[in-house]
Amino acid sequence: MKPFSYHQPDQIPDAARLLTSIEDSKLVAGGMTLIPTLKQRLANPPALVDLSKLGSLKGITDGGATITIGAMTPHAVVAASKLVQAKTPGLAALASMIGDPAVRSRGTIGGSVANNDPAADYPAGVLGLGATIVTSVREIAADKFFLGLFETALVPGEIITAIRFPVPLKAGYAKFKAPASRYALVGVFVAKFADGVRVAVTGAGSGVFRVPPMEAALSSNFDPSAVAAIKIDTDGLTSDIHAEADYRAHLVTVMAKRAVDAALS
C-alpha cells in the first residue's frame, strides 16, 4: 500500500470539496473493494476521503411507496431491516447473499453501486426495481446510471448519498454464486409493478442489463413457466475459467425462473 493522506469530513460539501481539490483522491466507504486494490498497489490515490462520519448517509427510511437506503448503509443492515423485509423481501434477500458476514457488515450499498462490478448483486436490485440514485448534486434513474464494466454516470466529485427504491408488488432475486468468489456468476432480479415487470441480470455480461422479452412475458403471466423457454443470446456474455458464455446464458433463464419463484413464495 502506498502512502496517502486520510480525511474524515462530517459534511457532504466538505467531502465533495476534498474530492475535487485533491486530484485523483478517492472516496472510501466500507473499503471492501477499495482497500484490496490499494494493498495490491493497483491504485495509489494521494488521498482517501472517508464517508463514515457522514451520518446523513446512513439508515433506511420509509417513504410509503418508496424505501430510501442511505449510501453508507452496510449490506447486513439492509438484510436485517424489518422494513425492507416487509416491503421488498427480494432486496433484503439479495443483501443477505452478498459475500460473507464480514463483508456484509463493512460493505455499503453506495460503494457497491458506485463500483458497478459486473458481478455485484446490488446493481441487479437497483436496475430491477428501477431505483433512483440520489447523489450530492442530482438524482439519476437506474436505467441511466450503469454504463458497463465498472462505469457509471457519476462524474468526478459526485457522491452517492442514497438509493430510493419504489416498492414493488412482488420481487425476487436468484443468484448462482461463482464457485470461488461467491459473487454472482449469474444473478437475476425480477420485480412486478402495477405497470409491468422488470428483469435485471448481473454477472452474465460486462454490466447489469435488462431482458425485455422476459419482462414482456412476465408482464402478461407472472409465473416461472413464462420465462422457461426464453433463451438469452450469448453475444456480449462473459466467458471465463468458471463459465462459458452459453452456460451463463442458460443460467439466466434458470435464475429468472427461480427469481420469479422466490417472488411468488
Partner: protein, 795 residues
C-alpha cells in the same frame, strides 16, 4: 500431579492452548534488531529471455539497501537449487537436470520465477525499489499444457532438453502386460486429467535470515516442514555454508500440505543477502505471491487400460502418463509422479501384471512437487476410476468387481508386481464396514427421493491403499533418493522426572505435541503434562528429515519409541543397582521399576534423580544422566488404506454437484489419539473433495499467465460445501513398525477424489456419461448433459 494419558486416549491438543489464545510464534511474528525488509521481483512472463536489469533507479530510491540479481549469484559462485531425487529411464539414462538458479539467469521460465531481490529499510521502500527496476525481457511463447509441451516444435524451455522431456520413466513388466492384454476377454480404456492444485496453507511462506560476524554463523527462520533438510540442501549445496555455521529454525508453521517441504530459492537468497547487507532481512509472501511461487501439485494427463477375463478378474493394467514438472525440478519433483505413483497402481487388487510409463515434462508453469498424498491420489484416481468403467462396461456390480479382485486378508504379506510388498491389510473388512456405515442398502430410496425433486443421485466407491511412512532409506536409494529417510528422537529425562523430547519431525497442525507426548506418557508412565516435544530448530534437535508423506508417527514415532525403550533399559540398570537385584529381575510398569515377585520398587522420578545425583550409582559401568537417542530407518513403507463412499446429488438444471453424504472406513493401524486421527481424516477428505469438485489451477496457453491466481478464482472447499462426514477406523496392525501404526495424514486426500467422481458418474450414468474430469464444476457437468442431449428435467 497429572495423569498418564496414553495410547488410545483423546486428550485435547496441547498446542491449541497457544494457537487458540493467539500466542503462537510464526515466522512473521519474529522481529530482529535492525531488521530490513526484502521483496522478490518476479517474472510477469511465462517464458522470456532476460536481456538485462538496470538497477540504478532502484538503488537510488530512498531506503533501498541492495538489489540482488542472478548476475550477483553467478559472481558469488553459488550453487543451483538441488533436486533431492535423481530418477532414470528404462535404459538407466539419468533424468535431465537443468540448473535451477535461485535468481533467474539468462531466462525466466514461469510467471513468478524470481528475477531480483530488493532489500530496503521498510517493506514499502522495498516495493518502491522493486517497481523502479528496469528489466529487459524478450518475451517467448510459453507452453503450459502437457500435450502441447511434448508436441514437435513446442516452445522448448531448456536447449538441452528436447521435447521438454525430463525423463521417460517406466515400471513393471511390459511384455507380460502385452501378453495378458492379448488374452483379455474385455479391455476397459480411460483417458483422464488429474487437475493441477495449489496447496494454500493458511500461513503464507516467510523467512528471516541473520548473519553474526562475530561467530560467522547464520540463522534462518523459515516456514518449513523440514529445517534440517533445508540446512543441508542450502548450506552444503547452494550457499557453501558449513553445517555447524548454519542454524535453521522452523517455528510454528501454519499448515504445509507439502507446500513447505521443499528448499525454496527465497530461503537461499535471503540468507545470502543477510550476510551481504550485514542486516537481518525479512520477507513475508502475500497470498498472491504464494499462488505463483508455492510449488503446485498433481497435473497429469493419463491413458489407462485394464485387461479383464470374462469373470471380471483383472489380468493386467497399463498406464501411460504425462506428468508436469513446471519450469524447473523442485526438491522432490521427479519422484512424485514416478516412485510415488507407479508402485501404487496395484491398489488393493491381485492384478498380476502392471506396466506404467511416465513422461516427466517441463512446462512454463510453477514447479510441481508433492502436495498432500503426492502421487498416490493420482494413482488411486486412475485405478479406482477404471475399475468403475470396467464394471459398467461388463455389467458387473461395482462392489462385486472389487470383491472379485481384492487381496484377501489371509494373503498378506502380499507382493505386488510393482515393487511394493504390503505387510498387512483387510480391504474387504473396510469395504464391508463402509457399506453398512454408508447405509448403501437404502440408497435406492434416497435416489428415488432425489429423482422426485428432479435431481440425480449417485454413489461412488473408492477402495484404496497407499504407501507412506517415507521411507526405507536403502529402498529409496535404489529408486533415486539422494538422501536418507530415517528419523531421530532424543528423550531427555530431567533430574525431576519430567521429559523433553527432541524430534526431527515438524509439527505444523498435525498435533504431534499431543500424540508424541501420549506415547511417552504411556511408555514411561509419566504424566502427560510432564512431557514437552521440541522440534523445528537445528540447534536444539539433533537431526531429522521432517514431516511429509505421513511419516511423522510412523518413522518419528518409531524413533521416539526406540529412544524411550533405551531410557527404560538404562533405568533398569540403575534400579538393579539401587534395589540390589539382578537386572533381569527388574520389571518396569506404570512408571515403577520393581523387583519381580517382591514389593521392592523405585519410581521413575527416583531413578531419574539417582541418574543425575550419582552418589549411590554404578559409575564404573554406567554413565550418569538419563537421556537417550534413537535413529529409526523403516524396513518397509506402511500401507494404510480403506474404503470411501461418496454420495452426491446433481442438479441437472445448473449442473451443480452437492456432496450429500460421505463415509470413510480406514485402516491406519494402531490409533494413538482417535480425535487427532479423525481430524486428519476430515481434513484429508476435504482436500480430496476440493480436488474433485472445486480446485483447479488454470494457466493460459501461450502467455503462461496463471488465470486462477487468487482465492477469487481458485475455489477452495468451504464448510458449507460439505456434509457431516462419517469416519471410522478398521485397523490391522502394521507388522514392522514398533507400535503397529501406519500413518493417517494423507489417506483422506488419497481415497476421496475417486469416490466423489465415481459418485458423480454414477449419478449421470443413465444419460450415458462414463467419465467426468476434475473438478466437476457446474459448467462442466452442464456441458456433459448438453452433449448427452437428453431432455433435462424441468422445474
Amino acid at each position: 500431579m497429572g495423569n498418564v494419558i496414553g495410547i488410545g486416549a483423546a486428550p485435547k491438543r496441547k498446542e491449541d492452548q497457544r494457537f487458540l489464545t493467539g500466542r503462537g510464534n510464526y515466522v512473521s511474528d519474529i522481529k530482529r534488531p535492525g531488521m530490513a525488509a526484502g521483496v522478490f521481483v518476479r517474472s510477469p512472463h511465462g517464458h522470456a529471455v532476460l536481456r538485462g536489469i538496470d538497477k540504478s533507479a532502484a538503488l537510488a530510491a530512498p531506503g533501498v539497501i541492495a538489489v540482488l540479481t542472478g548476475e550477483d549469484v553467478k559472481a558469488d559462485g553459488l550453487g543451483s537449487l538441488p533436486c533431492g531425487w535423481g530418477i532414470s529411464d528404462a535404459k538407466g539414462v539419468p533424468m535431465k537436470e537443468p540448473p535451477f538458479p535461485m535468481l533467474a539467469q539468462g531466462k525466466v521460465r514461469f510467471v513468478g520465477d524470481m528475477v531480483a531481490f530488493v532489500v530496503a529499510e521498510t517493506p514499502e521502500q522495498a516495493n518502491v525499489g522493486a517497481e523502479l527496476l528496469k528489466i529487459d525481457y524478450e518475451v517467448l511463447p510459453s507452453v503450459v499444457g502437457l500435450l502441447e509441451a511434448v508436441r514437435p516444435n513446442a516452445p522448448q524451455l531448456f536447449d538441452d532438453v528436447p521435447n521438454n522431456i525430463c525423463c521417460d520413466w517406466e515400471l513393471g513388466d511390459k511384455a507380460a502386460v502385452e501378453t495378458a492384454f492379448k488374452k483379455a476377454a474385455h479391455v476397459a480404456k480411460l483417458s483422464l486429467v488429474n487437475n493441477r492444485l495449489i496447496g494454500n496453507p493458511m500461513e503464507p511462506r516467510a523467512a528471516i535470515a541473520e548473519y553474526e560476524p562475530g561467530t560467522d554463523r547464520f540463522t534462518l527462520w523459515t516456514t518449513s516442514q523440514f529445517p534440517h533438510v533445508v540446512r543441508f540442501l542450502m548450506g552444503a549445496l547452494v550457499l557453501n555454508i558449513p553445517q555447524h555455521k548454519l542454524r535453521v529454525v522452523a517455528p510454528d508453521v501454519g499448515g504445509g500440505f507439502g507446500v513447505k517441504q521443499f528448499h525454496y530459492g527465497e530461503e537461499a537468497v535471503i540468507t545470502w543477502a543477510a550476510k551481504r547487507v550485514r542486516r537481518p532481512v525479512k520477507w513475508v509472501a502475500s497470498r498472491s505471491e504464494g499462488y505463483v511461487s508455492d510449488r503446485h501439485g498433481r497435473d497429469h494427463v493419463t491413458e489407462a487400460e485394464l485387461a479383464l477375463d470374462e469373470t471380471g478378474k483383472f489380468l493386467a493394467f497399463r498406464v501411460n502418463t504425462l506428468a508436469n514438472m513446471g519450469g524447473y525440478l523442485s526438491t522432490f519433483g521427479p519422484n512424485i509422479p514416478t516412485n510415488l505413483y507407479g508402485p501404487l497402481l496395484g491398489g488393493v487388487y491381485t492384478t498380476p501384471a502392471i506396466y506404467c510409463n511416465v513422461k516427466v515434462v517441463f512446462t512454463n508453469t510453477v514447479p510441481v512437487d508433492a502436495y498432500r498424498g503426492a502421487g498416490r491420489p493420482e494413482a488411486t484416481f486412475v485405478l479406482e476410476r477404471i475399475v468403475d468403467v470396467a464394471a459398467s462396461e461388463m455389467g458387473i456390480d461395482r462392489v462385486e468387481i472389487r470383491r472379485r479382485n481384492m487381496i484377501p486378508k489371509e494373503a498378506y504379506p502380499y507382493q505386488t508386481p510393482v515393487l511394493v510388498q504390503y505387510d498387512s491389510g483387510d480391504p474387504m473388512g473396510c469395504l464391508d464396514g463402509a457399506l453398512v456405515a454408508a447405509d448403501v442398502k437404502n440408497f435406492g430410496i434416497r435416489k428415488a427421493a432425489s429423482a422426485s425433486k428432479g435431481k440425480f443421485r449417485g454413489l461412488g466407491y473408492s477402495t484404496y491403499v497407499e504407501a507412506c511412512g517415507l521411507a526405507p532409506s536403502r529402498f529409496a536409494g535404489r529408486l533415486g533418493a539422494r538422501g536418507g529417510l530415517y528419523e531421530s528422537a532424543t528423550v531427555r529425562v530431567h533430574p525431576t522426572g519430567q521429559v523433553t523430547v527432541m524430534i526431527g519431525t515438524h509439527n505444523h497442525g498435525q498435533g504431534h505435541e499431543t500424540t508424541f507426548a501420549q506415547i511417552v506418557s504411556e511408555k514411561l508412565g509419566v504424566a502427560f503434562e510432564n512431557v514437552d516435544i521440541v522440534f523445528g530448530d537445528t540447534d536444539r534437535v539433533q537431526f531429522g528429515m521432517g514431516t511429509y508423506g505421513s511419516r511423522s508417527l510412523v518413522v518419528g514415532g518409531a524413533a521416539l519409541s526406540k529412544a524411550t525403550d533405551k531410557v527404560i533399559a538404562k533405568g533398569k540398570k540403575i534400579a538393579s543397582h539401587l534395589l540390589e537385584a539382578a537386572e533381569v529381575d527388574i520389571q518396569f510398569e506404570a512408571g515403577k521399576f520393581s523387583v519381580a515377585g517382591t514389593d521392592r520398587s523405585k519410581t521413575f522420578e527416583e531413578i531419574a534423580g539417582a541418574a543425575y545425583v550419582p552418589h549411590n550409582y554404578p559409575l564404573e559401568v554406567l554413565e550418569p544422566g538419563l537421556e537417550e537417542q534413537a535413529y529409526y530407518d523403516p524396513v518397509n513403507f506402511t500401507y494404510p488404506g480403506g474404503c470411501h463412499i461418496a454420495e452426491v446429488e446433481v442438479d441437472p438444471e445448473t449442473g451443480t454437484v452437492t456432496l450429500v453424504n460421505y463415509t470413510a472406513v480406514d485402516d491406519v493401524g494402531t490409533v494413538i489419539n482417535p480425535m487427532i486421527v479423525e481430524g486428519q481424516l476430515h481434513g484429508g477428505i476435504v482436500q480430496g473433495v476440493g480436488q474433485a469438485l472445486f480446485e483447479n489451477a488454470v494457466y493460459d496457453e501461450g502467455s503462461g499467465q496463471l488465470l486462477s491466481g487468487s482465492l477469487m478464482d481458485y475455489c477452495m472447499p468451504r464448510a458449507d460445501h460439505l456434509p457431516m462426514m462419517k469416519v471410522a477406523t478398521h485397523s490391522t496392525l502394521c507388522t514392522h513398525t514398533p507400535m503397529g501404526v501406519k500413518g493417517c495424514g494423507e489417506v483422506g486426500t488419497i481415497g476421496s477424489p475417486a469416490a466423489v467422481i465415481n459418485a458423480v458418474v454414477d449419478a449421470l450414468s443413465h444419460l450415458g456419461v462414463t467419465h467426468v474430469d476434475m473438478p466437476a464444476t457446474p459448467n462442466r457437468i452442464w456441458r456433459l448433459l448438453q452433449n448427452a442431449s437428453l431432455p433435462v428435467a424441468a422445474e
